[in-house]
Symmetry: C2
Subunit: 309 residues, 2 copies
């Protein structure tokens, strides 16, 4: 056991033994959300919002993160403009890990769907060099996968203040860009969403481009594939993708007015604290700790302006 | 920010900046499992193995943990002997959290299914006082939810050496006993399985009785309920439970010969190390860390004895 590991264990033991301050008013997350003001929420920009249509009511809404992966987000938008994903399929659903979609014939130059202006591969954007303009709300709790973790522009993220690098974390609902062994082997034609326990070992190893903010259940409940890595054995087991569109391309009636709780406000910090120590009557031993991927980032429909007044 | 939190952050920063020793032979989990010996595996005791039959091929296999919750495991076995669960249903599926089953009429004395010898409620078994006979393989990495975490008898667990308490952790697949606000309000008639990111805040707050070791996909893919907490709005949306049986009650042909990798061996420690630092070519930045619920506890069919010789 290394010296650092011993120090870690010693300090975490202190933390875990630290008693929770009782007698405080127990604000629940719901109390905090009910008391939130309009300024605590931000409208989701329709030019950063994807609608993945799996048929019928099965629509998955994904917010893109251009600040963290500008080239990949731009390239994925170029693919959308070419209708690249329409008629392709979900190829893989591995229990407690990911679903993944793309072209089943990818890699076969003769059969694969061609790209027009969009690029097949790009330079990796595993991390992002940040400066002081990057908004970052630090989670007060320690994390084993990153020197610091927190929230940036509504996404769970890690950062390394020494190297001045930031990156999006792999939590439930995270959208990433599948790649081969070479770091620069992908461009967004194959995408995955995390459907299980946070696979944080992927952080800094793959380009993350967004997260699902509504409709996650249409991905998480897909039948698991029975071939290696959860790939479907037979083409008919795959779920076809009707289309993927930017919300800004949809007619107004089809666009949801989604809002995400801002992650750079006292309201969000209060929410974190309410989840670190659950003080409602049900909990007998509040944890006094929370891991990055257990912090909810609430999403709602924009309230009717008249109702708000 | 408290002094402890500052210390935690400082030491975890050191850990996260510590370079991984490269140039070592990269043993993958598969290499380790291939090289494992028969003694690295244990047969699952048929008197601790449940088969939940949801109809057709949908069979979920659950290993009970009598060392951690002896009274609840005994009571659940009494319920099985009374065929208590047969014909009841899965009542709830909340995305990224749990599925839960039991009697939809529970709490209504006139309508609920009666128990015979089994008890409706028991004293909580949230933690277990341990002595030196408890096998416990400590995970080398720190954890924010417990002074120490590791593996005991094949289950992910936490413990507090000062209080001499141990408990099973809430990871993907963990089986727990639903309860009301009162700690002693449950006895096993309502059970849940974790189907999302590990809700470790539940640790020490609820009685854990086992984990799913095969067939998890039949629970994790159930449609999500649309009422509060993921309950199904209409009775016909529930999934009926054909039966829950101890494997020891099944005819031999229906009993799988399951084996679980022992968690108290050098082989398991090597597996943890292989997952802490993924050194295969795909990974560019090995994490040098793993959280408790990301460590796989492999399960296999017992190899044919003739083949092994």
């Amino acid at each position: 056991m290394s010296l650092h590991t011993l120090m870690l264990l010693a300090t975490l033991q202190l933390a875990a033994a630290e008693p929770v301050a009782l007698g405080k008013p127990a604000l629940t997350m719901q109390d905090i959300l009910t008391a939130s003001s309009a300024a605590d929420w931000r409208d989701v920009d329709a030019t950063r919002l994807l609608r993945m249509d799996l048929g019928g009511e099965r629509k998955v809404w994904i917010e893109l993160a251009p600040s963290f992966a500008p080239a990949h987000v731009k390239n994925i938008k170029a693919m959308l403009a070419e209708r690249y994903f329409d008629g392709l399929a979900i190829l893989r659903s591995q229990d407690n890990f990911v679903v993944q979609w793309g072209d089943p014939d990818a890699g076969d130059a003769a059969k694969q769907r061609p790209l027009k202006k969009a690029k097949r591969t790009l330079k990796a954007e595993f991390t992002h060099s940040y400066d002081n303009t990057l908004a970052f709300t630090v989670l007060p709790d320690a994390d084993g996968f990153a020197p610091e973790v927190g929230f940036s522009e509504g996404f769970p993220a890690g950062r390394d203040p020494q190297r001045k690098q930031a990156w999006l974390a792999h939590c439930y609902g995270t959208l990433g860009v599948g790649r081969d062994t070479d770091s620069d082997s992908a461009g967004g034609a194959e995408l995955y969403v995390v459907t299980g326990h946070a696979p944080r070992q992927l952080d800094r190893n793959i380009t993350v481009v967004g997260r699902v903010i509504r409709g996650m259940e249409w991905l998480s409940t897909l039948p698991r594939g029975t071939a290696a890595l959860g790939f479907y054995e037979k083409p008919e087991q795959r779920t076809p993708i009707v289309s993927i569109r930017l919300a800004s391309e949809l007619v107004v009636a089809e666009r949801p007015k989604l809002q995400v709780l801002r992650t750079d406000t006292p309201t969000f910090s209060a929410l974190i604290e309410a989840r670190r120590n659950r003080l409602d009557d049900w909990y007998k031993v509040p944890a006094g700790y929370i891991d990055l991927c257990s912090v909810p980032i609430p999403v709602r429909d924009q309230p009717n302006k008249m109702e708000q007044q």
